[in-house]
Symmetry: D2
């Protein structure tokens, strides 16, 4: 079942509206409501993931040198310790010695950050980023 | 003269609208239009300042140790070289040896970033941040 | 073959060094060199991905409502148009109506951003984030 | 009195060191130690300002339309309520109807964020950003 849609009015200065329309057309939106809903969701996610207790999804991506001794075993072993928080992992060989690994996590925001911070500290893990989002039903 | 206001309809799922209303009330907004206009402006500023050629305003704040020899003279001297890009500077004594300086700049975004990067590299300048915004008439 | 390691000296104030040591121990690093190499890599990635022409990897994660008519077909169809830029995609069912999809991309930074922006504008795609990184050999 | 400097060794792969040297020369640093100290300080500020209880300095910059009725009085009045947290304010006329105001705040990080969020919600305040930093003695 889809959520019921409610319609409400928004007032905006002519000039601002013109800029808004150009911006969303550049980004590929076909109507204002869709763009505004996305702007609202972005603010909700920022607010929500700010709180460590929020149930969240995390996508951790990191580049590492698979020639570093024991690194793969260490990364895999660490994930097994936290297997309840980890949904899946996939990886890509970026060149003859480096890999990109992408791990999807599902837990409280603070727990996800803790796991990510630890993996990024491993010797041989060169660069990484964590993106947090909420499960779709809260946005 | 104020810009003419245009009113248009936005449709949003009931649940999302409920979360939107709670978010903006928490942030102190008193109506939805004002919040939506601010969300739109934030996206416009992000898009605009991404382009180095945009005329922008910058606020550079940085903490420095005023005991470092010649540092104040160097900071001031450098600003004089770029005086056309600098609107004003103010500073605060944060403790017996450190200062916080805040410089307001007005130039193309890329030029503002170049000046800021240079100042932040000075020995004795400990930490700084640059915020870019557009002059009010583009937002 | 591993890169040859070079050793050089760094001087730091006692108090700053104490704070540095506490920070990296909290983040799980076991030696200063490893932490400093990671800080350097982070700055290199920021600088590198700032340039649209850089060959980069992107990880795009987004949450969408799979009940929106034709959305899955549209997302998949669009990826096929850009299949040369897309390495792999995986997805997770976050609840009965929402999915989290994670796409790994490999192309110039500007092209990756263009693809990501377009997908995020699709109706039913609720929230997403793009992380850019470089292939390991540049960092 | 200056802090005593301690010297320690850092090991880095030849290729990474070459990229590090090019990066810092591009940013205007004249030696590696100064760049590394700045990278360390940036991480400390990020970690520190993440905690709402930390004593911090904030620089809030925002653009507003000074033709909006009562807005200036409201901004000024609100600052007086929080005068203990506010160090100074300066402002710039960006065009015939808009102003850029820059407020320097000194309080706990969470309190600074609360004040900033409220001001940014005022009708007529178009866009703003808050930068947090620590007083120099913690970095």
């Amino acid at each position: 079942m889809q959520d019921k849609l409610i319609r409400f009015g928004v007032s905006m200065e002519t000039a601002l509206l013109g800029r808004f329309d150009r911006l969303i057309s550049k980004r590929g939106y076909t109507n204002r409501s869709e763009a505004i809903r996305d702007f609202v969701r972005r603010e909700l996610v920022e607010e929500g993931t700010h709180n460590g207790d929020t149930a969240a999804f995390g996508v951790l991506s990191f580049v590492y040198d698979h020639h570093v001794r024991e690194l793969e075993a260490r990364i895999t072993g660490f994930q097994h310790v936290h297997y309840r928080s980890i949904v899946s992992a996939s990886h890509v060989h970026t060149d003859h010695k480096n890999c990109l690994q992408v791990i999807i996590l599902n837990d409280k925001a603070a727990k996800i950050e803790e796991i990510a911070t630890k993996i990024l500290s491993f010797k041989g893990v060169k660069h990484g980023r964590l993106s947090l989002t909420l499960s779709g039903k809260e946005i």
